[in-house]
Structures are given as structure tokens and as C-alpha cells.
């Protein structure tokens, strides 16, 4: 009785894992490990003099974008590292909003990671050396959820706060404009 139950439970669990796996983050369990690095000063899309090609995206970007565990840990860090004190739950305050469609320093995950690591001149602190590179990438992955960028199956359906912001599963995906029309 109990073994039959276990077997059926196992089968069910396997089925769930198999189906859920269809649309989950990519896992690179057999690939070579990548060095723990955050791009230094990766800037928003900008003029490339002489018609040169934009630099290739950082390979770590793919590992963290749409990665549910990374986003969940990033969400925890977002509160504990006091990001929430300046950026609120995406609406901004001391710092700019993170749920809208404007990115002063670029809205790609590697650009956000660079902003967190290096800081920015109008008051964004530099976290390199205070957080590990892995933590910085996880934070960047979470920040992108505030404007609905990741796929909906990688985000949480409930908010950590009393805030009445919509759950991340319902956050509309904003376009990403590398622009700054805020009055600074």
C-alpha cells in the first residue's frame, strides 16, 4: 500500500517535472563553468564610432535571466540590501522607478548588473566587493521582473510586501527604452 503510493507519487512527480521542464530556464549542468564576473561599466546602447559592432552580450546573462531560483534569491536581497528603501517596489523614490520603460544605464540584465556593481554618478551606490558577483546577477534578474521582462513561469505569484502592486505573474511587460527623460 505504502509502496504503491510511493510509486504513483514518484510517477506523478516525474511527470510534473518533465512537463514543467519544457518551459523552464535553461540549465547548463554539463557545460564548462563560467567565471564569476560582472561586466565592468557595460553601458546602454550608444553611438559606436566608425560603425563598429556592439560587444557580444555577457554569457552569464543567459544563466540568470528567466531563472526562477535566481529571481527568488534576488527578491530576498532586494529587501535585505535596502534596494527597496530607494526604489520601493519598483515605483522609485530616492532612486528612479524600476517598473517603467526607461533605463538610464540600459535595461539588459548585464547592464543592470554593471549598474549595481559599479554604481552610477547620481547616487546609485557601487556594490562590487559588498555583494558577490553571483548575488549581483541575481539582483539584476529580480530587477527585470519589476517591469515584467522574464517569462511568467519564472516569477512568484505573490508579493513579499503589503504593497498593492500587481503580482509578478501579472506584471505587464514594459518596452525597454535606453533613455532618460527624468528631470536630473
Amino acid at each position: 500500500m505504502s509502496s504503491r503510493f510511493s510509486v504513483s507519487t514518484l510517477a506523478l512527480a516525474l511527470a510534473v517535472v518533465a512537463f514543467a521542464g519544457c518551459d523552464r530556464e535553461e540549465r547548463h549542468s554539463r557545460s564548462k563553468p563560467l567565471g564569476e564576473t560582472v561586466p565592468a561599466g557595460e553601458s546602454p546602447d550608444t553611438i559606436l564610432p566608425g560603425g563598429s559592432q556592439p560587444p557580444a552580450p555577457d554569457p552569464r546573462a543567459k544563466l540568470y535571466d528567466n531563472n526562477a531560483p535566481a529571481i527568488a534569491e534576488g527578491q530576498f536581497l532586494y529587501t535585505r540590501m535596502n534596494c527597496v528603501g530607494c526604489h520601493a517596489h519598483g515605483g522609485g523614490g530616492m532612486g528612479p522607478p524600476l517598473m517603467d520603460d526607461e533605463w538610464r544605464y540600459g535595461g539588459r540584465i548585464d547592464q543592470i548588473a554593471a549598474t549595481i556593481a559599479e554604481g552610477r554618478p547620481n547616487g546609485m551606490p557601487a556594490w562590487r566587493g559588498k555583494l558577490t558577483d553571483d548575488q549581483i546577477w541575481k539582483l539584476a534578474a529580480y530587477v527585470r521582473t519589476l517591469s515584467g521582462q522574464p517569462s511568467k513561469d519564472s516569477v512568484s505569484s505573490r508579493s513579499e510586501s503589503m504593497s498593492a502592486t500587481t503580482p509578478q505573474t501579472l506584471t505587464p511587460r514594459e518596452p525597454v527604452h535606453n533613455s532618460d527623460t527624468a528631470e536630473r
Binding site: 529587501t79 535585505r80 540590501m81 535596502n82 527597496v84 528603501g85 530607494c86 520601493a88 517596489h89 519598483g90 515605483g91 522609485g92 523614490g93 530616492m94 532612486g95 528612479p96 522607478p97 517598473m99 517603467d100 526607461e102 554618478p121 547620481n122 547616487g123 546609485m124 551606490p125 559588498k130 510586501s161 503589503m162 504593497s163 498593492a164 502592486t165 500587481t166 527623460t181 527624468a182 528631470e183 536630473r184
Partner: protein, 618 residues
């Protein structure tokens, strides 16, 4: 009969709005008809202090107008009868679009403007047509300071004394500039942005000392007030607002009125171990000075973090009033308005120096419209509270016991971990925030520009990391009972009631100006600059400026002998940050919860930074 009807309607409105919880009527740009609620005082009334408030010489040399912080102009050319003919004379763009809270200063034919970050100081020549620029002084503060300014990169004003203009920069410097040449005289670094300290207040110069306090109550700073030598900029004394008595400059002259403020090192003992070092209690508001007793009076800011669960105890010497000797900084008395503050109710609001009839004589008092919603009348020699009366809707407290001086918190509203406290009134910015009142000796009334906001608050553990916010709370604000978010209340400090109030749709974040002509001036968050009849509250004149007004209006006598009214329009600060910084209205907790209360503001005004100067049409 009409009074009864109005009262009845108000009751119905209050009940209806409490029921609906968020009752923000959107009447575009309009204020209500004044609601009369009392009689003008007809006996002896409150008067400004003679020594602190000398007769008007036509200049405006400090934000409070005088040491008594009356914000009263003795000029009387502009009256209720002719104010309708008030027209713009000239304008000036400050080249900034941050929230503009400072007043223009006027000294013998020159106007001085101190901008928000980057804190540029302009001198305009009032003797020439169009008031051309004489010079500009650019202190170039660190851009990073913008990231540790909790509630806008504002500056609340410069001050003129003895040939110098003295002001603070956001990145923690106090600077003296020669008023004629625009050349720097001295510059002193006082605040450290790496610890989250900024300087946003206007200095006060008294008895050869430049008094400056720090901002950063949301960043885990340790609050202080410093005195610099006016000639050299060198530090004379510095009094902390937490910690051991020697740091607080508490010694043998310290004689608080209430027993709860007596004892050794209460700035340490009323905190969990070591927490006083991160305890807040900054000083970013207003100081008054009594030249007769050579005492200064000011209040201290909120304790940190907002999550009060992390700091059991009275948290001295935060959220209270200090009297100090100006020369030595020694504390004379202290009264803690809100021990163990749980709602972010800083006590940095203005302390108006006045005398009130008392027995056969007059008693020297402080008039203090508090952030916690109570109007305090205090004996300024002793620190005794003579009365404490709500001047608007308050449910976060039950009242002030005049025997013990202690305020009673409403336990139903106290934020505790694991629950959301709802409908706390007033909200974190208080019934009134920094924007000062005006006090008219003509009517004996205090004109209080204020909010009518309530909030939901949830606390969670705050994590101290130097240079980042130390708050530990999610807040969501909304309009209070009555369906309006701001008001101007004409308060009789002796009868302890309102004579009239005018309701504003949006929170009122602008200071007030009262004039001998019988007018009260203030601005609205959507850019209307208004003149009310000081006796009745009737709206007599209004002008739509280019941006929301949070600046301090002033009045001066021009080189041509005419009376002028000046104000800078430039929305921002805590209330207007949603416009200035393009915050996203979809997150109700944005701007520490203010976003939710002003979601409609981006549709009603845009950022700016323009001086407007008015006079009667010739």
C-alpha cells in the same frame, strides 16, 4: 443656520469618506469656500515677541523673516481691496527642475536665490528693469549626494547676515559668500554623504554663530546641530541628539520641566545597546532665537529606523524640542513631543516666538503646529506645555496629558510586525510637514498650511548598511476624512480652535506668508499661487504658475518703494517627487508611500524652477 448645515455636511462627508476609505474628489485646481468654525479673537490676543520680531525694514534676510519665525511682512500697500490688481512684474528661470522649497531673500535692492541641488546661488539686481543677474556662485556639490537625500534634493533657504549670504549644500557643506561680490568667504564640510548625511535646512545666524543641522533620519544617521563661527566658518560647538550627556551638551544648566526627561545619559539608556549610534533625530527644519535670553529653540527629527520594534524605549532625544544657550550650545530644557515615535513624526517644524495674555501680564511662549497633529503652546522659559490641541483630524494619538506632558498613542493604530496597521491619521508626513506657518499680529492667528493624509503601514526588520536607507516599513498614503488632501487653517492659539479653514484638493506643501495688509499667501501642488483674506479665508486672487508650488513666499519693499510678493514655483520634495523624478504611480509604496496619495499629480503639473514676482498694476 448656515454654520449648522456646514457642520452637518462635514459630518456626513466624514462618515461617507471613512466608509469609502479613499475619497479623493478631483475638483480641478480649486479650493473649497472657507469653512468658518470660530470667531476672530476680539480680546487681547497672541503677539509676536518684541525683541525677536523688530519692525519691518522692507528686506527679507532669513527664511522665517525674523528670529521669531513669524513669516509676517509689515508692508501694507497690498490689501484685500486691491489684491485683485496683482500682476507679474518679472520672472527668472533658476535652471533647475528639482523641488524648490527655498524663499528668495531681499537685501537692499538685491535678490538672492538658492536653488535645490546643485545649490547655485543667484544675485539679481532689483534696481534695474527686469532684475538682471548680478552674479551666480556655483558650489558644485557631489552628484552622489542626490542618492542619499530621502525626500527630494531640496534646499530650504539661505540667510543674510553682516555682508554675507550663508547656505548649505546637499553634500554636507556650509558656505559663506560675499553678498556684494559673490566671492566665497569660507566653506566648511559638516556632513558626510557616505553615512547618509545631507544638509537641506536653511542655516540661522544668531549671536555670531551659524547654526546648521543634518538631514538623514531615513538613513540611520546620528542627528546633530552644529554652530560655526560666522567670521571663520570654524566649528564652535556640536550637540548630538542621541548618546551620552556630554555629546548632547547636557550639563548643570539643563532643567527639563517633566520628570521623564530627567536623569543621566538618557540618550543612551532609552535605547537598546548601541542603537543610539544609528538612532536618527536629525535637525533639518527651523530654529528660532530669542535675543533677550540668548536662547535658541528647535525640534529634533524622527528616530530610526521607522520600524519602532527595533528600538524599544523613549529614544531620547529624538522627536522633541530643545532650548539651548546659543553661545555654548548647552541644553536648557527638552520636551519630548512624541517619545518612541512610531509614525515618522519628526518634530522639526517651526517654533514661533510669541507672548500670550496670562493673568495680568503676558507670558513668553512657543507656538508649534506639530507634525503629530497637535498645536502646542509652550512656556519657552521652562518647556511646560500649556496646551496641546489637534488642529485637524488625528486618530494615531488619543491626546496629551498636561500633567506628565506625555502623548498617548492609540494602540489600535500601532504598527507591529506581522500586521498592516490601517487608517493611521495623520500619515508619516504628519498633519503638517516642514512647510512653515505664518503668524499675524494683526489678527493674532497662526496660518497653518497642512495635509489631510492618512496611511497604512507595515513594518519589517531594517538592515543597517551605511549610506543606504534604514527604514523597515512599507507605507501607503491617501486622503483623510472629508475628501480633501490639503488645507490652510487659521488657528487661534488662545481659544485653541480654528477661525476658518480652506480645503485644498491636493496636499498643501507650500509655506504661508501673512502681511500687514490683511492677506495670507500660499501655493498649491498644481501651481496656483493664492491670496486669502486673513480674517475670513475668502479667496481674493490667484495666479497659475508654471509648476507646483512648494516654495516659501515672501514680501519686500522694492527700490521704487512699492510692495512686492515673490515665490518660486518648482514642484518636488517628498510630496511632488512623483513629478520631479517621474516615479511610477502604479507602486503605492513609492516615495516612502507618498506616491499613492498624489497619483493624479503628474497629470496636473510638470517640473519647473521659475521665480515669479508680483506687484499692483500701476
Amino acid at each position: 443656520m448656515r454654520r449648522v448645515n456646514t457642520a452637518l455636511l462635514n459630518v456626513i462627508a466624514v462618515v461617507a469618506c471613512v466608509g469609502l476609505q479613499a475619497c479623493n474628489k478631483n475638483q480641478p485646481g480649486s479650493s473649497s469656500e472657507p469653512v468658518p468654525s470660530g470667531q476672530l479673537p476680539n480680546g487681547p490676543h497672541a503677539l509676536p515677541d518684541r525683541a525677536a520680531s523688530p519692525p519691518d525694514d522692507g528686506n527679507w534676510v532669513m527664511p522665517g523673516k525674523d528670529y521669531g519665525s513669524t513669516r509676517f511682512s509689515g508692508l501694507n500697500q497690498i490689501t484685500p481691496a486691491n489684491v485683485g490688481k496683482l500682476v507679474p512684474q518679472f520672472t527668472f528661470s533658476t535652471a533647475t527642475t528639482h523641488g524648490y522649497e527655498a524663499p528668495p531673500l531681499v537685501v537692499n535692492g538685491t535678490m538672492y536665490l538658492i536653488t535645490p541641488y546643485p545649490n547655485d546661488l543667484y544675485a539679481l539686481d532689483l534696481t534695474k528693469p527686469g532684475a538682471p543677474q548680478k552674479w551666480v556662485f556655483k558650489p558644485k556639490p557631489a552628484a552622489a549626494s542626490q542618492g542619499v537625500a530621502c525626500c527630494g534634493t531640496v534646499n530650504r533657504g539661505a540667510v543674510y547676515d553682516a555682508g554675507k549670504i550663508i547656505f548649505n549644500t546637499l553634500d554636507g557643506q556650509t558656505i559663506a559668500v560675499d553678498a556684494n561680490s559673490g566671492q566665497q568667504v569660507w566653506r566648511t564640510q559638516l556632513g558626510n554623504i557616505q553615512k547618509g548625511e545631507t544638509l537641506t535646512m536653511a542655516p540661522l545666524v544668531a549671536n555670531g554663530k551659524v547654526l546648521v543641522g543634518n538631514s538623514g533620519g531615513e538613513m540611520g544617521v546620528r542627528g546633530w546641530l552644529a554652530a560655526l563661527d560666522e567670521g571663520s566658518g570654524k566649528l564652535v560647538w556640536k550637540a548630538y541628539h542621541t548618546g551620552p550627556d556630554k555629546d548632547v551638551l547636557i550639563g548643570s544648566r539643563f532643567k527639563p520641566f517633566y520628570p521623564t526627561d530627567r536623569g543621566k545619559d538618557l540618550g543612551v539608556k532609552t535605547w537598546p545597546p548601541e542603537i543610539w549610534k544609528l538612532g536618527g533625530g536629525p535637525m533639518w527644519g527651523w530654529i528660532s532665537y530669542d535675543p533677550a535670553s540668548q536662547a535658541i529653540y528647535y525640534g529634533t527629527g524622527n528616530p530610526g529606523p521607522w520600524n519602532a520594534d527595533q528600538r524599544p524605549g523613549d529614544n531620547k532625544w529624538t522627536t522633541g524640542v530643545f532650548a539651548r544657550d546659543v553661545s555654548s550650545g548647552e541644553a536648557l530644557w527638552f520636551y519630548q513631543t512624541t517619545p518612541h515615535d512610531i509614525y515618522d513624526h519628526d518634530d522639526i517644524n517651526e517654533s514661533i516666538l510669541a507672548t500670550i495674555p496670562w493673568g495680568n501680564g503676558r507670558r513668553p511662549v512657543l507656538l508649534r503646529p506639530g507634525r503629530n497633529g497637535f498645536f502646542y503652546v509652550m512656556d519657552r522659559r521652562t518647556g511646560q506645555v500649556l496646551s496641546a490641541t489637534p488642529y485637524g483630524y488625528v486618530n494615531g494619538y488619543r491626546g496629551v496629558d498636561l500633567k506628565t506632558g506625555r502623548i498617548a498613542v492609540n494602540p489600535d493604530k500601532e504598527p507591529k510586525p506581522g500586521r498592516v496597521s490601517r487608517d493611521i491619521c495623520p500619515a508619516a508626513p504628519g498633519l503638517k510637514d516642514w512647510n512653515p506657518s505664518a503668524f499675524s499680529p494683526v489678527t493674532g492667528l497662526v496660518y497653518i498650511p497642512h495635509n489631510n493624509l492618512c496611511m497604512d503601514m507595515a513594518v519589517q526588520p531594517a538592515n543597517y548598511i551605511a549610506g543606504t536607507p534604514f527604514v523597515g516599513a512599507d507605507v501607503k498614503m491617501y486622503g483623510g476624512p472629508g475628501g480633501y488632501r490639503g488645507a490652510v487653517t487659521a488657528w487661534d492659539p488662545i481659544a485653541r480652535k480654528a477661525v476658518w479653514e480652506v480645503h485644498e484638493d491636493l496636499p498643501t506643501w507650500s509655506p504661508a506668508l501673512a502681511t500687514a495688509g490683511g492677506l495670507v499667501f500660499y501655493g498649491t501642488l498644481d501651481g496656483w499661487f493664492k491670496a486669502l483674506d486673513a480674517r475670513t479665508g475668502k479667496l481674493l486672487w490667484q495666479f497659475k504658475t508654471g509648476s507646483g508650488i512648494i516654495g516659501q513666499p515672501i514680501s519686500y519693499r522694492g527700490p521704487d518703494g512699492r510692495q512686492y510678493i515673490a515665490v518660486v514655483a518648482g514642484v518636488g520634495g517628498w510630496a511632488g517627487g512623483i513629478v520631479e523624478n517621474k516615479l511610477d504611480p502604479r507602486d503605492p509604496t513609492g516615495a516612502l508611500g507618498f506616491t499613492n496619495a498624489v497619483k493624479d499629480l503628474p497629470g496636473k503639473t510638470t517640473a519647473g524652477g521659475m521665480l515669479y514676482v508680483f506687484a499692483l498694476q500701476r
